[in-house]
């Protein structure tokens, strides 16, 4: 990389390439999430782009977060970014190059995106790389998400779901148990102990809150529009059911079915057979509103202020929207928190524009994607960050984080840092 990227107009193309690079890393199982992508873009705004080494080290700081990821980063960085240098070497004419683009051909940033893509196409067209370069998410996701999960992956899903359940479900009860300091002062026991010494408070007893596990209710959409995701959904339900005991699982398409008893036990295929026999409208039409309404009238006692409610659906509702809205309102009021996982949310182009989704949105505490392991990981990560006394409460009343502090009056610049660490800039 011996060229200069000094044109502000090129930033757009650069950003696209950074995003592409993040995807490449992700495809290689490096844990680069959306947050990292944003960090990378912010970091690039903070550095001098004309210095290739700064560029590399900054991305490395932001994107590679374990030694293994750093190794991967180092390996891929050259491969990916040297494309700019190589594009000239290959001497491939750009198929869609117009006159104006030819003018800027000497400026690598602008046509960087196309050349990267081209190069990826020419190189080894492995599936990962195709995903890294591709920008049509639906197509890609169908390939990646729903292949058969192997045992290891299943185990990982189970672990992740357990973490989801834990984050959602753990909460402190109002009871206390004795504990060692530090903790809360146990006045009752302290006073009682003091009686032996004529009322002098000498020995202090401490106590701590015990934890309680509330319930979880899972409502899965198995209508036609969710067909693509059904394999994942089944795994999801099954893993969840076995990771977390206090869960009730329902599936719905045009009507609602309680499947928790069928999924209990260790044999997935037996469970599937049972479900197939019991749920005639699998892959049928969708009437979310009606299904939720049935749920409310028949199983409302399952939902109380301790219950976290998880709905997995793409929000395509062919039924009565008013019923949907009414049910959502009631469910949100009754439950501890209402989470809507939408597999479509995994694709960047998706907007929750369907009428059903629009009606449901105001009553959702957390709207998140769930279409593959990575998105589950992200969900766990998010819930973990919320987890204090209880994640669910935070979802409802999330305190505004304080405004970012103003830059230190004399915030050291990059060069200052170099000077302070005694490194030649």
């Amino acid at each position: 990389m011996n060229h200069k990227i000094d044109d502000i107009a090129l930033h757009g193309a650069l950003s696209a390439n950074v995003v592409g690079f993040c995807r490449l890393l992700r495809a290689q199982r490096s844990g680069v999430a959306l947050g990292e992508e944003q960090d990378a873009l912010r970091a690039l705004a903070a550095i001098d782009l004309s210095d290739p080494e700064d560029f590399r080290l900054s991305l490395r700081t932001v994107l590679a977060k374990t030694p293994a990821e750093q190794k991967l980063f180092d390996a891929l960085f050259d491969v990916y970014w040297s494309v700019w240098d190589r594009a000239g070497e290959l001497g491939q004419p750009q198929p869609e190059s117009s006159a104006s683009e030819k003018d800027s051909a000497s400026r690598p940033g602008k046509n960087g995106l196309t050349s990267v893509r081209d190069w990826l196409k020419q190189g080894e067209p492995t599936e990962e790389e195709r995903e890294a370069a591709g920008y049509s998410p639906i197509e890609v996701h169908t390939k990646r998400d729903f292949k058969d999960f192997n045992a290891e992956e299943l185990e990982e899903i189970g672990r992740l779901l357990q973490a989801v359940a834990r984050a959602l479900a753990t909460r402190f009860s109002r009871r206390y148990r004795p504990a060692r300091p530090p903790g809360r002062l146990d006045l009752r026991r302290t006073l009682r102990a003091s009686l032996r010494r004529g009322g002098e408070l000498l020995d202090l007893s401490y106590c701590r809150r015990t934890r309680q596990k509330p319930k979880l209710v899972l409502l899965c959409d198995v209508s036609k529009s969710m067909d693509l995701y059904s394999r994942f959904l089944i795994q999801f339900m099954y893993a969840f059911q076995n990771a977390y005991r206090r869960i009730e699982t329902f599936v719905f398409a045009t009507s609602l079915h309680h499947v928790a008893p069928l999924l209990r036990g260790n044999d997935l295929s037996a469970g599937l057979d049972a479900i197939a026999a019991q749920v005639p409208d699998w892959s049928g039409g969708t009437r979310i509103g009606a299904a939720l309404d049935t749920f409310l009238s028949e199983h409302a006692d399952l939902v109380d202020h301790q219950t976290a409610l998880l709905i997995v659906s793409d929000g395509w509702d062919t039924g009565d929207i008013e019923i949907l809205e009414e049910s959502m309102r009631a469910l949100q009021r009754r439950s501890r928190c209402l989470i809507w996982l939408n597999p479509l949310l995994g694709s960047p182009d998706y907007r929750p524009a369907t009428r059903g989704m629009q009606a449901a949105l105001p009553y959702i505490d957390l709207f998140a994607p769930a279409h593959n392991i990575d998105s589950l990981k992200a969900l766990v990560g998010y819930l973990m960050t919320l987890r204090g006394a209880t994640a669910a409460q935070y979802l409802r009343r999330r305190p505004e984080p304080p405004a970012p502090t103003k830059a230190h009056p004399a915030a050291p610049t990059r060069d200052d840092w170099f000077r302070r660490f005694g490194v030649q800039p």
Binding site: G31, A33, G35, E36, D39, R42, A43, A46, I47, E53, D54, L57, S58, R60, T61, V62, A64, K65, T66, P67, Q70, P181, P182, G183, L185, L201, L204, K377, V380, G381, M384, T385, L386, R387, G388, P399, P401, P402, P404, T405, H408, A411, P412, T413, R414, D416, W417, F418, R419, R420, F421, G422, V423
Partner: protein
């Protein structure tokens, strides 16, 4: 500036520190023991001319030990002393829950500083996962609620540096929130530089020999691989012994400084002569004293 801080860094260190400061993100530093992870935080504090607040993690560390505790004993004493007082009850009670009786632990300390300090959370891998998630909460909200006093919001966000020796994997959530810096054992040239900077009056030849020795010894299977700290201790000891180069006798006598495990000392001692020969030390046997 450079001699003042006495830290030999490479570009990766500087860039990571710079980005973490500029984008106001915590910096997670990992690497083997004794490579100067904690040192980075100290240098940053000095460079920013601000206080360094350190939270040393250990197994069983919990929120109270990191945030605040009431000094119950002192409160009780205060009640006793105040028994005969005529002052109104409300006033006395307010006294009891004033900051005088609050034991501020590092996290609360860091938040209440008017000038953002450097908050070093050292060896986070030693604390348990519970604590990790608690920490995440504090790091994202920057506010702490003390029921008796109220919610304390950070006056200014501290500069956070976390270190880990990788005795266990930190949770993904922590990693994702932080910027990341891996510090490895220094390369030969860099270590020589460090020794020369940190050890006054050391012979360049001796420094190079020491570092060559360390470079090679780290490749062996050892119980405890010596870090830069050991290199420096050894160099200082050899300077104090008025050595100008390594020789078999002196190395054998001072092995205890480099290796902190008896098995390592025994193992190295056994093959020391060959090992030093491999470094070309034999040719420069100590002159007759």
């Amino acid at each position: 500036m450079l001699a003042e801080h006495g830290y030999v860094a490479d570009r990766q260190v500087v860039m990571s520190v710079y980005l973490a400061q500029t984008l106001e993100r915590p910096l997670l530093i990992e690497g083997p023991a004794g490579v100067g992870k904690t040192e980075v935080a100290k240098v940053v504090a000095r460079a920013l001319d601000t206080e360094l607040i350190r939270l040393q993690c250990y197994e069983g560390l919990d929120a109270h030990a990191a945030l605040y505790e009431w000094n119950y004993q002192r409160q009780l004493l205060h009640i006793k002393l105040d028994e005969k007082s005529q002052r109104p009850l409300a006033e006395r009670e307010a006294d009891l829950f004033s900051e005088d009786f609050l034991l501020k632990r590092p996290l609360l300390q860091a938040i209440t500083q008017p000038v953002p300090p450097v908050l070093l959370i050292d060896e986070l891998d030693r604390a348990d996962e519970e604590f990790e998630s608690f920490l995440l909460e504090v790091l994202s909200d920057w506010q702490i609620t003390i029921p008796e006093i109220g919610t304390i919001r950070a006056a200014a966000r501290p500069h956070v540096i976390l270190t880990s020796n990788r005795t266990r994997e930190l949770s993904d959530a922590v990693r994702r929130r932080c910027f990341y810096l891996w510090i490895d054992y220094p390369e030969f040239d860099k270590e020589v530089e460090i020794v020369r900077r940190k050890v006054n009056g050391i012979d360049i030849q001796l420094a190079e020999q020491i570092c060559r020795f360390m470079e090679k010894i780290r490749m062996q299977r050892l119980e405890k691989v010596p870090g830069v700290a050991e290199t420096l201790d050894w160099a200082k000891a050899l300077v104090a012994l008025h050595q100008h180069h390594l020789d078999l006798e002196v190395v054998a006598d001072t092995l205890g400084i480099v290796f902190k495990d008896q098995r390592d000392v025994a193992q190295v001692k056994q093959s020391l002569a060959e090992f030093l020969e491999g470094l070309g030390v034999r040719a420069k046997l100590a002159p007759e004293r």
